[in-house]
């Protein structure tokens, strides 16, 4: 069952095309990584899901409800951590957490206390005095203390130190155990790789790849290191990239689908050993963005 569904969603801000025919599905109980560089349209997509923005065309649903017209109903089951957390400067962190909790219709006070401890957070300070990391903590504690079904987290760890990031990952794993659904937007790929069941890669407002990380790996280049018996010096192939040749050794990248052809060509040189390394998510990502990381503005 899909908790989130976006089909062919377009969103323009004047001349700027923020989303083009965006498709996104998040199944119940999974952690979906939503990755893309700044300005690719992640926050815009999320704000449409929350009913804060209205899409120009296409359809969206959250818990089978159209989010713009049913925003309040949807939000009862959703906890949201915005990318850039804005707090009321005169409220304390503790007050903010309580307020958001009760607006949503109740939250778990014990959870709040234990989260405050876990994140080593001082809830008595006025929000205006918090650093970026601490503002992030306020929003995270407010979200995690709720008993929402769906967690939409927009770059939630920017500003957290590595220790707090570990705590964040622990929280997410706990949520998954409880069967909650999570949409995690991020550009910290190591985090996504560690936590997510599936990944959607967004580029200039459209999803360019979806799948498990394993599935995505098959779509891209492998890094190959090969030792042969004969002299390789004049080896060349239209199927390899970034070729580095030594006398009897070669390093290169190859698309999965061309692997067989390349191996055939190489076999003429009598392969002695071969190491094939699957791409990291980072390489995957760069594969889609390598030429122009940037995208348009959100």
């Amino acid at each position: 069952m899909n908790i989130i569904e976006m089909k062919n969603v377009d969103k323009n801000f004047g001349e700027v095309k923020a989303l083009r025919k965006l498709n996104l599905e998040v199944k119940k109980g999974e952690i979906m990584g939503f990755i893309g560089p700044n300005g690719a349209g992640k926050s815009t997509a999320i704000r449409i899901l929350l009913g804060l923005l209205r899409s120009d065309s296409g359809s969206s649903s959250v818990f089978d409800l159209e989010p713009f017209n049913n925003a309040a109903e949807v939000h009862k089951k959703v906890a949201y951590v915005p990318g850039d957390v804005s707090l009321w400067p005169n409220l304390t962190g503790g007050e903010f957490i309580d307020l958001i909790g009760s607006l949503r219709g109740g939250f778990n006070r014990n959870k709040k206390e234990s989260l405050i401890k876990l994140f080593d957070f001082d809830p008595t300070k006025k929000c205006r005095t918090y650093s970026k990391g601490n503002r992030q903590k306020v929003a995270l504690i407010a979200a995690f203390a709720s008993d929402a079904e769906l967690f939409i987290l927009d770059e939630p760890t920017s500003g957290l130190d590595p220790l707090m990031e570990l705590n964040f990952q622990k929280c997410l794993k706990d949520l998954k155990k409880e069967g909650k659904t999570i949409l995690l937007s991020s550009h910290i790929l190591a985090e996504v790789e560690k936590l997510c069941d599936r990944v959607s890669i967004i580029r200039q407002g459209e999803i360019v790849e979806v799948g498990t990380i394993d599935e995505l790996r098959h779509l891209t280049r492998l890094t190959i290191e090969v030792d042969v018996e004969k002299d390789l010096s004049n080896f060349s192939s239209k199927n390899v990239y970034d070729l580095v040749l030594e006398k009897k050794k070669a390093y290169f990248g190859v698309e999965n689908k061309n692997l067989n052809d390349v191996l055939k060509e190489l076999s003429k040189y009598k392969i002695k050993s071969l190491i094939s390394t699957p791409p990291t998510l980072e390489e995957l990502f760069m594969h889609h963005y390598g030429d122009d990381v940037g995208g348009n503005n959100e």
Partner: protein, 534 residues
Amino acid sequence: MNKFKGTLILTKSNLKRDAFRLSIWIISLTLISFALIAAYSTMMSDDTLKEMIIMRATNPAIRMLDSPSPGYSLGGFYTSRGSVLITILIIAMTIQTIIKHTRDNEESGVSELISSTMVGRYAPLLSAVIISVLTNIFVVIITTVALYSHDLDLLYSFYTGISFGLMGLFMTGVMAIAVQISQTTSGASKFGWLTTLFFFTISAIGNLLGKFDPNTFKVESHNITFLSPFGWYQQMYVFHENNMYLIIPFIISFIVLLIIGFKLINKRDIGSGLIPAKKGRKDAKKSLLSPLGLFRNLGKKSYTTWFITIVLFGLLFGFVSDEFEEGLSSIEGLEYIFGSVNSTEYFLALIISIVIIPLLIFYVQSLLRIRKEEVDNTIENILASGVTRRKLLITKIVESTLNLYIILLFLVIGIYVGGLTKVDIGISVILQSAFMNSIPILLVGSIVILAFGILPKYVTLITYGVTIISVGLGPVFGPMFNLGENILKISPFTHIPTPLDDFNIMPFIIMSILIVVMTFFGFKGFENRNLDLN
């Protein structure tokens, strides 16, 4: 390292960044100065000017708001009638300028960048002060040229310019301290305005308690006015007495304020204020935990400030009421201007239409708060937590309107209690008059709601535009501009019957319909639009 190092470079770059805003100010001030003197000079041909001086000097409310009349002359009339408007604009410009180049930069982090470069610790403030002083020198020039171009004496025109520029100088000093003390832009701005209000009230009381001589056309103020910089420039009585020695207190206070301001820089960290942030509550009070609770909390400070100011205003008016009644009846020829009206009722109508102005400003500011939440992105927190847009907007309107009527009620009580033993007016008459005047406030409010719904990007501009028009063309200021009755009818306040008029229900019916319609479309717009988030 030299603490003033980099001031010149910083000033150049600040001027470049700020050129647009400053030129808008300079152009506006130029236009206003020329427009005012042009308007006044048309009155010189006949006795209109004499009648105006008498009317304004004998009207208690206007006498409070005017600079005291120095005598009968066009230049004297300009300083008496135009100077308060112009000095308030100069003060607004000065407050904005200093904040922009100090607190604003600190809040946005620009200062951190600047301080990490080779720029001395004092340079940002000094640069802000230099820019402010430069703009005020412009004011001197503008005023001189404007008056001289209407054949007024060049030296006296220059004196007038000086007297205005000195107010800017004084405020520059005040703001140099304000931006050190307060931790936020809005705090510094409030500090500036409260200081202004405080000093203005002192000089207003001084003028109020003064004496008007119908032979020389001079208002002799009470000496209390010398406690206020407004008093200093007003008591120069340019074009008549030219007491230019009053430049001295301006210069001394400017230097002292500036020294204090610079000393305070050493006592604080960049980005923080002198008044430290207190430790707060770990958990929220129950009363905070709803949209209404939130809005009440967010508006608490501003509400309290307005409440106290407005109610004190009412008390003060009530308190001085009998002096005016006497003052009014003792002046010969008054019937000619007022007709045979009961001066008590005239006075009441006047008071109500004056005190309603701060109430209007309170109300639209309170409504605009929801726009601030949107611009600051904090609205996202509420609207992503199960609160509908409709509920949020209703809550804001209810909260603002409730506060409006609470202040109104206490204002009425204030006027009544202040004038209890002196004036023979029942509280119900005051209440009625105040209530009738609250309907135009709601009307302006509904324009704010409509603009927020359908033109959110322009709502602030529209709000202040509409507010200025309805106040400017209303019964207090409208008659000053000699614009003709039909133009004054643009202001909803013009349509409210005073205790002197016959009661007419039509304006109220029309306004109520407009309020409902505009509020309705405001809701429609807000519920169907994109949030304007960053």
